[in-house]
């Protein structure tokens, strides 16, 4: 049971799946409707759902997700125990239940939105409880005229990822009260929206929300001064305004002892700053090579070695081998679907987008993107937002890997000459969105001498020399690197994309 629970918690989200790509692209296609100048009611109505229904709210869902009002004392989950969950307002009180569908299809999302209102005060509170840590719970502040399902970027005043702490489906369940300021102050009309998505497509988890109330202002603490209040900050002690979180666990990359492997326990038995889940340098010599594989094999053979016990269950077995192998990354060859969807992480900033897309998908408002012939079945795409805001930068970063050879090759095509795209080679960094100058080994502009779209678009090859960092005699003892693709539009008013058809290291 413990093993199963651990497995459920540690499932790695696929960050670059086609459904998410479709959602993002649809969002791009929707323009920002003009702001409404009418008057709005002050305050939130029926925030405790005491009417027993969703009066004052709109309920929506994507891919089977949904919202309904549930009452304390009733069973409302397939997992037994939901009738025992104590609601903040006691027996017989109500809460909105946001539920994702667990049919194996990713992207099932429940959406609860208030009607537009004037805040009147500077902040509001609400109480929430999630059934599992494997949910993504977001809070959005929207302009009154924003599209509820796919709001345009300009209509999103602010977007916050809400922390999920304790999860029980029984009488030990505890609602958490969260206080949030209105991003545009008390005089700017707004719609509040909650979005819940299950991170495990096979499990449809729920989140309860109630007592959405506008209260008295209380200063929020922000100890690291990154303008993210502590209660939302995924790394309280370290300034990380971009909140990069490559593995989607509760710890931002800046604080995470395994930035690319989910480990909410942050267990680190030898105190070396590398979490047990990703401590693949078993011998402690700075590399993962023959010696580490030999020590691991001996541990499976009967000589227990805690350094090989990646799941901390007191034995070394095939599950530890799976965890060990997952963190070992050698080479990159992104003609492989797995490298497209697992090797790269979206670290885009200011509304930019980075994702993997299959050939034949419409990825632009300009005709022809679905007719571009890719070198393989998939390509990586980086782009700015639809408005061409030069600060919106699409950023894709590979997980750290050991190069297979002294050359990095890739092919790319940009939709327009009005883009600036670069490829970078980085030392492994905790701030991939904005790597420090010391982390950047190479920064090379991507060729863009034949921009275009449609069937005549051609991917152009490019080569980067990794020789200064490559040891041909002991390839496994090479320094780990990250490859990063960045692109922004240089002409405000239009957003363009760059496709990267193949990235690989080799001889």
């Amino acid at each position: 049971m413990d093993r199963l629970a651990t497995a459920r918690r540690t499932r790695i989200p696929r960050l670059l799946t086609a459904p998410r790509a479709a959602l993002l692209l649809c969002a791009l296609a929707v323009g920002a409707p003009p702001a409404l100048a009418s008057l709005f009611a002050t305050g939130i109505q029926n925030g405790d759902f005491a009417t027993g229904n969703l009066l004052g709210f709109r309920a929506n869902g994507l891919r089977g997700g949904g919202v309904e009002v549930v009452r304390q004392g009733t069973e409302f989950s397939a997992i037994p125990g939901s009738s025992e969950i104590p609601f903040p307002n006691g027996p017989g009180s109500y809460a909105a239940r946001l539920r994702s569908r667990g049919d194996g299809i990713a992207g099932s999302m429940a959406i609860l939105t208030t009607l537009p209102f004037l805040p009147g005060l500077s902040e509001f509170t609400f109480a929430t409880f999630s059934e599992s840590e494997a949910v993504r719970l977001e809070l959005l502040f929207l302009e009154p005229a924003a599209d509820v399902l796919r709001p345009a970027a300009a209509d999103v005043q602010k977007r916050l990822m809400l922390p999920i702490d304790e999860t029980h489906t029984d009488r030990a369940a505890g609602f958490k009260t969260i206080r949030v300021p209105f991003p545009r102050g008390p005089e700017h009309p707004v719609k509040i929206q909650f979005r819940q998505e299950s991170l495990e497509p096979l499990n449809g988890y729920f989140t309860l929300i109630t007592n959405i109330r506008i209260g008295e202002p209380v200063p929020l603490q922000d100890r690291d001064g990154d303008s993210i209040p502590d209660q939302f900050d995924n790394c309280v002690p370290v300034r990380n305004p971009n909140q990069e979180n490559s593995d989607g666990d509760r710890f931002g990359d800046a604080c995470d002892n395994c930035p690319y492997v989910q480990n909410n326990d942050q267990a680190d038995r030898d105190g070396d700053g590398v979490g047990n889940r990703c401590a693949i340098d078993i011998t402690g010599d700075g590399f993962t090579d023959e010696a580490d594989v030999g020590v691991f094999a001996a541990a499976v053979d009967g000589t227990f070695n805690p350094a090989c016990d990646f799941d901390d269950d007191g034995r070394v077995d095939v599950l530890d081998l799976a965890l060990f192998a997952r963190s070992v990354r050698i080479g990159i060859a992104s003609d492989d679907l797995w490298d497209f969807t697992w090797a790269f992480v979206d670290h885009s900033v200011n509304g930019g987008i980075g994702l993997a897309t299959p050939q034949g998908m419409v990825v632009s408002a300009i005709w022809g993107s679905d007719l571009i012939v890719f070198p393989g079945r998939w390509a990586l795409m980086v782009r700015s937002d639809a408005t061409g805001n030069p600060e919106a930068e699409g950023v894709l970063t590979s997980r750290p890997f050991v190069p297979r050879g002294p050359r990095l090759t890739l092919t790319a095509v940009s939709e327009s000459p009005d883009v600036a795209a670069t490829v970078r080679v980085l030392r492994p960094t905790r701030t991939p969105s904005t790597p420090s100058p010391e982390s950047i080994l190479l920064d090379v502009p991507l060729r863009n001498d034949r921009p275009g779209t449609g069937p005549s678009a051609r991917f152009l090859g490019q080569l980067l020399d990794l020789n200064p960092w490559f040891n041909a005699e002991r390839p496994l003892r090479n320094q780990r690197i990250q490859v990063q693709i960045r692109q922004h539009t240089t002409r405000a008013g239009s957003g363009y994309f760059t496709l990267i058809g193949d990235v690989r290291t080799g001889p």
Binding site: F296, V300, V318, L321, A322, R326, V328, W338, F401, L476
Partner: protein, 165 residues
């Protein structure tokens, strides 16, 4: 016109139902298989038998292989995915051999990749020793999937007959 429309709707519904019933997950094999399932050899003759994985999203596996050593011998046991130590994408732990039993304690693909379904994962060079029939049987096949779930899966055996001409 109305009847024609109803007939069209019925055909569409039937086609949708049929495609749902015949979706890949229903007809795909599960577990693993030894291929070929029947082998006939002469004493001293060799052939290759492969262990084929039919499960989706498998990142690591272990198993034992049992046989009658008086009838056949296993000359080599080789993973299909080569080791990272020789430029490949797998970590293959060394197998252990006893008379009539081979234990493979683990093989895993690196970097979040998977063993593709319906693809061989191991190959065994089987040599006929003495006339007779034995079952080459996979025991205790355990796989780990992308969600870190570990589970036992069935594997169908291979029947090996050794006969003098």
């Amino acid at each position: 016109m109305m009847i024609r429309s109803l007939a069209l709707v019925a055909v569409v519904v039937l086609l949708a139902a049929a495609s749902w019933l015949l979706r890949p997950s229903d007809w795909a094999h599960h577990g693993a298989t030894l291929d070929p399932s029947n082998v006939t050899l002469r004493p001293g003759e060799r052939t290759v038998v492969r262990l084929v994985n039919n499960e989706a999203d498998v990142v690591a596996l272990r198993f034992r292989l049992r046989f009658d050593e008086s009838i056949i011998a296993l000359d080599t046991i080789e993973p299909e995915h080569t080791s990272i130590l020789t430029g490949g994408n797998a970590i293959n732990l060394p197998s252990r051999q006893q008379p009539g039993l081979v234990e493979v304690p683990g093989s895993a693909v690196i970097g979040g990749r998977v063993f593709y379904p319906s693809a061989p994962v191991y190959r065994f060079a089987v040599r006929g020793v003495n006339p007779g029939t034995t079952t080459l049987a996979v025991e205790d096949l355990t796989v780990v999937d992308l969600g870190d779930a570990e589970r036992a899966v069935p594997a169908s055996p291979s029947q090996v007959t050794v006969r003098d001409r």
